[in-house]
């Protein structure tokens, strides 16, 4: 299953609308907690073979090889080994520990001052890009300006929070005034418009990695950009084939150099064929952004069980309700849906890759809960149809027509079929509206449409509960908050919590999530596992499914 981030226009729209809460990617990134352990290091085994070529089969290409435009899971897998940012998420570690932020090109984590509004970084001395050019502090400013100008799909991360970002985006300033640099000392000072704890996470995204000032201020889809990562681009045939080779000049300590000499990422929309290729050892890695079809899964689980595992991710799947329109402006109608939904059924439709839960914050992130605390019924148990029908009677919405929006690709269309049947079973007159996956989020997010209910999903951009809870903020805009939820308590709590580090306010995040569930603002139904599926040629135990990078390319090695 491929996960695209919200289209660029959406991010821009958010950037314009949002002042406090901004857009992040829609459905990107990865996430995982360990399959069996958290923190199993990916050191090389004694029999491992350095070098060689590893092939990844993917059903979906990245939007671009340029990290200043793309923000897809597919793209992030690739350019995150090319473009190292100031900070970075730890590599070579499977599970939650892999979401730990460590210094990348920066000497250390930033010092925070000015009441959480100023972040100061120092660049490591003597760093060079893969083409030999020295890295300067001012390159960071150029990279962020490039993010806004091209623009990056998550450009609002930069423009909405860094002082002067909005003015630069609007063409009212020649540079981002909130960033000052000193090439001589490598000092980079970032001033924020307001305290915003997730900013460290944002500086760990490859999209914010410095690039040489000679890099054109336009999308480099055919070549990618130059960076200081363990790999560098070799050849790119957009939408077909992306080849990476090891970077001999890589000089950042603390980041693995990778094992394979060459990594080939080839795209074939036939996901079943991709899975069969890996099963038959004709390709090495099945891209975890795709779902192994249920028809093939059994065979994979039996004949290739030593090279297959399902790895939990920090992702959430949910149905949203338009709280301003009939019938879901009625809280009982929303509650009835929550009582009637069988999260176990939705999991089976996803080949069993979904962990049932009614909460938005995944268990792998601070504030995450479990399905056992769901207010209407345990997410791992049968739905409460009696309660659902009682609530429907109370709501007076029986017989109300509902149009349900969903995507066409598997298993999302099957989810839509199921959800529609549930709505009909409790008394609504529900019909489906299936929208092409490539335009789904732009369609439902159009302010003129105001749909009644439909599918939504979110995959972690960084391990902060704000990344998920901002989806239902009153100022999030229709491109994120499809249900137009605007709850004063929710908004106030969110704006208070995002100023603090998540681990300091864990219980408050949990309470906020539970509050929204009890109000029926969303009917979340689970958190997905991604398949880790390799060929026999690869060392399966040392390969890492990372929370941030999905397949950690630096961990792949031939036996």
């Amino acid at each position: 299953m491929k996960r695209y981030v919200r289209p660029l226009g959406v991010s821009l729209l958010c950037g314009a609308v949002v002042t406090v809460a901004a857009c992040s990617s829609s459905t990107t990134s990865s996430g995982s907690s360990p399959a069996s352990s958290s923190g199993s290091s990916s050191g090389s085994s004694s029999s491992a073979q350095a070098g060689g070529t590893i092939t990844i089969d993917s059903g979906t290409p990245p939007l671009s090889a340029d990290q200043a435009l793309d923000f897809t899971t597919q793209g992030n897998e690739l350019y995150s080994v090319v473009n190292t940012p100031l900070l970075t998420f730890q590599r070579g570690v499977q599970g939650v520990a892999g979401a730990k932020i460590i210094p990348g090109l920066a000497k250390a984590l930033p010092t925070v001052s000015n009441g959480g509004k100023t972040y100061t970084f120092f660049l490591r001395p003597g760093l060079h890009y893969s083409n030999g050019t020295a890295i300067k502090a001012s390159d960071e400013t150029y990279a962020l300006e490039r993010d806004i100008k091209i623009p990056w799909q998550a450009a609002s991360f930069v423009s909405a929070y860094i002082a002067g970002g909005t003015a630069y985006a609007g063409g009212k300033a020649k540079t981002i005034s909130g960033i000052t640099t000193d090439d001589a000392t490598g000092k980079i000072v970032v001033n924020l418009a307001a305290p915003f704890a997730p900013i460290e996470d944002i500086f760990a995204l490859a999209g914010t990695a410095p690039v040489p000032p000679s890099t054109p201020m336009k999308n480099q889809a055919n070549t990618g950009t130059v960076g200081d990562g363990p790999y560098m681009w070799s050849s790119i045939t957009p939408n077909q084939k992306y080849t990476l080779v090891q970077n001999p000049k890589f000089d950042v300590p603390g980041i693995p150099k990778g094992h394979a000499a060459t990594i080939v990422y080839q795209v074939n929309a036939n996901v079943t064929a991709n899975a069969e290729q890996v099963l038959q050892n004709q390709a090495d890695v099945f891209d975890p952004g795709d779902t192994i079809p249920a028809s093939l899964l059994q065979q994979v689980q039996t004949t290739a069980k030593d090279r297959y595992a399902a790895i939990p991710t920090n992702s959430s799947y949910y149905w949203w309700f338009n709280v301003n329109q009939k019938p879901f402006n009625n809280i009982y109608a929303r509650e009835a849906v929550l009582a009637a939904l069988d999260d176990r059924a939705l999991s089976r439709l996803d080949s069993g890759f979904l962990q049932p839960d009614c909460h938005l914050i995944p268990p792998g992130i601070a504030g995450g809960s479990t399905g056992a605390t769901c207010p209407y019924h345990n997410a791992n148990a049968a739905p409460n149809m009696t309660e659902a029908k009682t609530l429907m009677q109370k709501s007076g919405m029986i017989g109300q027509p509902v149009t349900v929006y969903g995507e066409e690709r598997t298993p999302r269309r099957q989810w839509l079929d199921y959800y529609t049947s549930v709505l009909n079973s409790i008394g609504f007159k529900a019909t489906e509206k299936v929208v092409n996956s490539s335009v789904y989020f732009t369609t439902i997010g159009a302010p003129s449409l105001k749909p009644q209910t439909g599918f939504g999903d979110w995959v972690q951009d960084f391990p902060n509960p704000w990344d998920f809870m901002q989806l239902f903020a009153g100022n999030a805009g229709s491109s994120l908050n499809y249900g137009y939820v605007n709850d004063a308590h929710y908004n106030t709590t969110l704006n208070t919590l995002f100023q603090q580090q998540p681990d300091q306010v864990v219980s408050q995040w949990t309470a906020l999530d539970q509050y929204a569930v009890s109000k029926g603002y969303y009917a979340a139904y689970g958190h997905e596992e991604f398949p880790k599926f390799y060929s026999d040629r690869l060392n399966f135990t040392t390969g890492v499914m990372s929370t941030e990078y999905q397949t950690d390319l630096t961990s792949l090695e031939l036996k």
Partner: protein, 345 residues
């Protein structure tokens, strides 16, 4: 084929009369009308009769889908039963496994042909899908018959400006590959619908098929009308003061009726096939409704493990289209004025 005489008589056919056809006096053979003659020919075409019977059985099976659904299977065509179980050989089995694999054919009352990924009974959906396919085929055929005949009559009779407008329009539609045009229209209309008709309405694929096949009837009808309008009986009608509309519908239309009848099964078969193409490609019948095309498409994922998911709706489609075609050929042969028919003495 149009008959030569304006009255629709079976001119030029030599028929040897059977004793029962003789008049009470036993001298003159009783007059046999062309329709009666065609029916006799049809009755003697056993291949056609076999496929006609098969077609009737298939249609009846599909029409009885609600009865099967309510009294045998016990579930509706869109009833999701993902976490349910079914008894197979005395053991309870998951309808959809924990890893999402649906149960295969049980060959019992419940889930006779197995379930799909949403736990829906495939046998029920097969029959309801057949209803949908036949309904769309029939409605589309009606649309083609009405529009094609009308366009052919107008363009052929009036000629001039009317023909100048209608003929290129038909050529334009004709020049597009049918499936590509159907997919383009289906994709566009599935989202927005047409006016008050919603995108998931069955009328949408029926309308699309109707539109793309209009020239296939309209052009030959136009040709026939161009020929007929120069005939003496039309001149006679004009002399009698008949208006153009009356001439078209009371004089010309009966004479192109055999052409329409011959085209009818051909167009019906093609409409059912095109519906299947469009639904297979996602541009026809929209979820959660089923048609044979969507069922074949849904079953493709399991073609290696449970090929019956695709093969059975495929076989239903093939048998239906084959039956319609064979019956159509039989009807055409029966209506052919040049056919030599020996009536037994």
């Amino acid at each position: 084929m149009a008959l030569d005489s304006p009255e629709g008589g079976a001119a030029g056919i030599i028929v040897s009369a059977a004793p029962s056809d003789l008049s009470p006096e036993g001298r003159q053979p009783a007059a046999i009308g062309p329709w009666q003659l065609a029916l006799r020919r049809l009755r003697r075409n056993y291949v056609t009769l076999f496929f006609l019977a098969l077609l009737v059985i298939l249609v009846l099976m599909c029409l009885l889908a609600p009865v099967y659904s309510a009294h045998i299977a016990g579930v509706g065509p869109n009833t999701n039963n993902i976490t349910g179980t079914v008894s197979v050989n005395g053991t309870q089995q998951n309808i959809v496994s924990l890893s999402g694999v649906p149960i295969g054919p049980t060959w019992g009352a419940h889930y006779l042909l197995g379930a799909d990924t949403n736990g829906r009974d495939l046998a029920v959906r097969l029959l309801y899908g057949g209803r949908t396919s036949l309904l769309i085929g029939a409605v589309a055929t009606a649309v083609i018959m009405i529009l094609g005949t009308l366009v052919g009559l107008l363009a052929g009779y009036f000629r001039g400006v009317v023909d100048f407008i209608l003929r290129p329009l038909m050529e334009l539609i004709w020049s597009f590959p049918v499936v590509i045009l159907g997919v383009a229209l289906g994709t566009a209309l599935a989202l927005g619908g047409i006016g008050p008709v919603k995108g998931n309405s069955l009328f949408i694929p029926a309308f699309i098929i109707g539109v793309v096949y209009v020239p296939y009837l309209g052009k030959p009808i136009r040709g026939e009308v161009l020929r007929l309008r120069e005939q003496d009986f039309i001149d006679a009608a004009r002399v009698q003061g008949m208006g153009p509309w009356r001439i078209m519908f009371s004089e010309i239309l009966p004479n192109v009726s055999t052409t329409i009848i011959v085209f009818l099964p051909l167009i019906l078969a093609n409409s059912i096939l095109l519906e299947a193409y469009l639904s297979f490609l996602g541009a026809g019948v929209q979820a959660p409704n089923a048609s044979w095309g969507t069922l074949i498409s849904d079953g493709l994922t399991y073609i290696q493990t449970t090929p019956t998911y695709s093969l059975i709706p495929g076989a239903m489609l093939v048998l239906t289209v084959l039956s319609v075609n064979v019956v159509g050929d039989g009807v055409r042969d029966a209506l052919d004025p040049r056919a030599q028919v020996r009536v037994r003495n």
